[in-house]
Every structure is written in structure tokens, then in C-alpha cells.
Symmetry: D3
Subunit: 131 residues, 6 copies
């Protein structure tokens, strides 16, 4: 259960419905996922967040699949169940193979381990990494 | 200051020195960074960790630069100062451009934001993300 | 499922039951929520925690609703599902409006984003913030 | 040391300098803090972030000081040294008294403790918190 | 639901099945828990992880029960629901009493609180702790 | 630099000074570390925290050294630099050997890795772990 109502096209504001429509058009699907139905309670934040997401996650120096995988990495480290599920689904839809998923997880696991070790040992940053 | 001594080639064990040598050979540099000098206090864990790192971070379905960027993403989310510095330096050495760095940061920032929002709203995972 | 038994008024110790009673009297409700039924397994920690909670969350320089909202913010950042739910319910009971909730979430989301960006860029603290 | 250059008014782009100017005008000070000088490396993200910050942190159902205190709470839980310093300074500038600061810290500490306990015991969310 | 298939003895690779068998032999039970059935999708990481776990969690300067309790502490702080459950079960199987569990939780809760307070106050590390 | 003044015996309140004295008597040293000098700004929270610490960290089903090591584990996972340093020093003072420290770090690193993997794969908790 959410701490906030998941709004439908019937009870969301026109501003929120316009974002629903843009999500549908951008993704070429009728489905609007629960995150946005929850976000619809605050149309201003919803709009800012969706606009930003479209800008950030599109093609650039990094391709969209790579960005989804980075998104998964952050979501895992932050322990966000919803985001791990939704972005793993997005990455799969964008072509992440089982091999790529396995390598992503291996890097995430290794990084988590060395993050913990570096913190436990309070390793000082090498001067050469500071330039 | 570290919570553990940073070992030199003089006071590390032969097993740890062998890892130092392999680090030098693999990276083609004489420099061994502080993390490994701290890890040298426990040669068994050091060896397991270094062997794993060579296996995980090498070429595969994801290229090494991509893996470094995923490593940065995890390290940022885990708040590991040392790892953020060392892997940003590694990524730069592997060709991360300023544009790629900017896009990486934009994805990390956006993910952190939506992770927090999804957690705050306790959004239930859509059935379609579960298959 | 909890990793520990949720104790009832029948199987909790007298010390734990005394806390149950004080919770009921303080909140003016018969209901004792699951957190305290789990905490009842260790009456000493339960008592210390409940006494502290009464002292900390009462009126002061900050009003109780404001404190609940700060509690939500911490719970979100720590990814505690139980606490996000229970303190969102508490805040609502203390008068948090939909607008206040929306603003709280907007601040939490923004802070999470800039926390990540500041960590990723390892921004040095300005001298003027240190005094 | 940052992982990115802190840009001055001389080497930042015109778009970034326009944000510097807006920061100065909004805060009525000549000083632009390090976070924004680091963000200036990516003018698009910088602009989006600053625009959002102005919108979110201004007066509303919650007053600006309250928002700064929520920001501190999130920054502490996320372990962001820079943000803890900068937002504690901002809150002080907006009138946070020593008593308010003490109460803020007491709530943060208590929440961190019960977050950990609820997670350790995996307390199931009460049905009544789900509506 | 997992983001990856939980493999059975029928559809896992021979390499993964060999780890299943070693898990059964080591633990003297027929049961293989879900974590390893998920890990079986990447036999190389699975093998490295299982080998490391056998090495790290066995007897040494710290006894295996103590190690399980440290594992729980880390898992709680990282907010990993699965690991809190599985390692609490393991610790119980290795003889953790209700008193030991209560003391473990008390330490975890106290540490979480003072971690937050030290971070909020940005307490500088005492010189004497650095040697 | 702290976000709060580190109080001396001269400018702390009598209530805070009484805690300073109890710290000295309990630890049999003249030295009062920075955490308590910062906490002295809020004598009520300081007293509650110190009383709790004496109660929790003393001998019980777990010995004091074991508790210090659990404290380190939590502090590492929470990324608290101050607490990692101070409790590593405390553990050393209570007899933690280099071997014990190495084993502690190995468990912390392994747990961090499997926490991340379990979260990334969203492994469902086995029924048998729920009883």
C-alpha cells in the first residue's frame, strides 16, 4: 500500500493527466505505471520530474540502455525496491541481455564490497586522484 | 588517517607483495594506490578481492569504461569518498569525457531523487514489472 | 513476517505491559502498534526508547507535527518501510495537509538529488560554512 | 578536492554565469558557494536544479526554515558532509535557534535508532497505517 | 517477485548445480535457499561468492555465531530485508539466544543513533583516534 | 569543523560537566572525546545517550569487545567516519587483535556485497526464514 493515493485518469488534475498523456506518447504504450500515478498528487513536482527524466534519460554521450543500468545501480545502493523493479524492466525492454545483467550485478556487488572496506579502513585519498 | 597501516613493499608479506606486483603489471604503472596498501594487512582478503576485481572489471558484454561508471554510481550512493575519487580517476583514464561525466551525474542525481520519492510514497510495484 | 514475535498483552512481561499502558494513555487509544509489540521482547530497550520518544517528540521549539515530518524525512532516507508508513500516519493524524505532504516530499526528493551530486563531485565545504 | 573543477565567473559558460547572477540576486549576496561552482560544469543540470530549488525551498505550506531543517535531516541520513554543512548554515541564517537545532538533532537521532530497530525486527506494517 | 528467475536443480547449469551440492553438503541439509537459486543465473559470480562465504564465515579469531551477528548488523544498516531474515535464521540456528539477539539489536539501534548525531554535528575525529 | 561548538569544561553546563566527569570515571581517563564535547550543547540528549551507552555497551550475553565490533560494522555501513575511527580505537583498546580486525572487515565486506546482490535481484524471503 502506498502512503498516498494512486490517481487514475478520472481523479487526477488536468495538469497531471497531461503528463500521463505525454508518458503514453513518449513510451508508445497505454500503460502508466504506479510511480506516476502516485506522483500525480503533486502535479508541479510530477511535471518537473517527468520533464527532467525525459531530458536526462534520452540519447547522449551515453546511450539510454547504459543510463538505465546506471539507474539500477543507484537504486540498488539506495535500497529502493520499486525502482529496482521498474528500471530492471526498462533496461530489459531496451535490450539488456542476461549477460549484461549478470555483469551489472557483479560490478554492483564488487563496488558495494570495496566501498565498505574503504570506509572501514578509512583509506586516505591518494594525491594523484585529487587532480 | 586510516584505521589500519598502509603497507609498503618493505613491510608487506610476500603474498601481499605478489598482489602489488600483479597490480603493477596489470595496470602498467609502478604506482600502487592506498586502498591496496591498506588491504595488504589481510593478504587472503586482498588476493580474493583483487582476483575478483580483475575478473569483473575486464571487457565483457559491458565495456570497462561503462563498468567504471557503474562503479562510480554505486560509490556515490554508498557515500564512499575514497571510491568516488579513485573510480572517477579510473574512468577518466579510460576515456570518460566531460560530457559522459555530466550525463553520469545527471542520471545519478535523478535516480537518487526518484528513489527517495518512491520510498516516501511507498509505491507498490506494478504487476507487469514482476514477470 | 517479523524476525521476532509480536507480543500480546497476554504474553508480554509486566514491564512491557506497563509501556503498552502508557502508550495507550499517552495516545488516548486502545491500539498498540506492531513496533512496540516487537520491542516488547526486550523490555529494557523498549522502556528506554519509549521514554525517549515521549520526551523528544513532544512540544518544544519545534511543534510535534514538524517533528513527525522530520521523522518521515529521516525514515525515507534510511529506507525504513515501517517507519515511513507509521510516521506518515502519525503526521496525518496531527494535521499534515496534502499540501504539506507534497512540500515535504518535494524537499526530500530535492535533497536526495543534491546530496548525490555533492558526493559525486566531492565538493569541498566552503570556509564560510565552517564557522 | 572535488572530482570536477570549481568554475569561476571567468571560465564558466554564459548560461552558468546567468545562474550565478540569479543566485546572487535571490540570496542578496555576492558569494556563490562551491556546490554551484561545481555544478557549473553542466549548465543544463545546473539550471534545472537551481530552478527547482528556488521553487521547492520558497514559502508555502511549510515555511523556508522548516524546509531547511528537513533538508538537514535528509542530508544527515544520506551522510552528505557538504550538504549538512551548507544547509545547517542556511538554517542558521534563516533563524534556527540553538534550541531548534538541538530538537532537530534529537529527532534525527531517535528516528535513525527506530529505523534500525524496525528493520532489524522486520516489523510488518499495521493494517491501519495502510489506509 | 525476484528480478531474475530462481533456478531449480533442473534448469541450472552444471556449474551452478555443483554449488548447490556443496551448499547441501556444507550445511548438511537438502534445502538450498532462494538467494543461491537467484545467484545461479551467473555461475561464475555464484561460485566466487560461495567460495568466499565459506572462507569468511567459518571459524577463526571470531566464532561463526559472532560473524552471523555482525552480518545481521551490516544487513540492517544496509536495509536488506532478505539478508536480515536469512542471517537472523542462521544466527538462531547457530545458537543465538533471545538475550543475545536483544543485545545485538540494542547495539545496532544505539550505533545508528550516534552515527546520525556524529554526522549531523560533523564532529572532527580526535587526534588520538588517528594513530 | 563541526556544525556545533565543541564545549570545554569551562563553557559547558553543570549537567553536561557531570556527564564529562562520569565519562572520565567510567573510562578511567582524563580525556573526553569530541563527540561528547559536541553533544554537550544539548545536556538532556547527552545524558540520555550516555546513560544508554553505558547500559548497552557493558558486559552481558555479548562481551564488550564483541559489541564494539558490531558497532564498527554498523558505523561502516552507515558511512560515519567519526564512529568508525572512535569505535575502532575502542575495540583495539579492548583487545581486538589484527586477526580479529581482519575477520571483522572480511565479514563486513562480504555482507555489503550480498546485501547489494539480494537487493538487485529482489530475492523473495524463503518461507522457512519467516517462522
Amino acid at each position: 500500500m502506498a502512503t498516498i493515493e494512486l490517481l487514475t485518469d478520472e481523479n487526477a488534475t488536468p495538469e497531471a493527466c497531461a503528463v500521463f498523456d505525454d508518458i503514453r506518447a513518449t513510451r508508445q504504450t497505454d500503460y502508466v505505471n504506479n510511480f506516476w500515478r502516485a506522483m500525480a498528487n503533486d502535479p508541479a513536482t510530477m511535471t518537473a520530474c517527468w520533464d527532467r527524466l525525459k531530458q536526462v534519460m534520452g540519447p547522449g554521450s551515453l546511450d539510454p540502455l547504459m543510463k538505465e543500468m546506471i539507474y539500477i545501480a543507484v537504486s540498488v545502493a539506495n535500497g529502493c525496491e520499486y525502482c529496482v523493479h521498474s528500471h530492471t524492466a526498462s533496461a530489459a525492454a531496451k535490450g539488456m541481455s542476461a549477460e549484461m545483467h549478470a555483469e551489472l550485478l557483479a560490478v554492483i556487488g564488487l563496488a558495494a564490497q570495496t566501498n565498505a572496506l574503504a570506509t572501514a579502513m578509512q583509506v586516505p585519498v591518494d594525491d594523484r586522484f585529487k587532480s
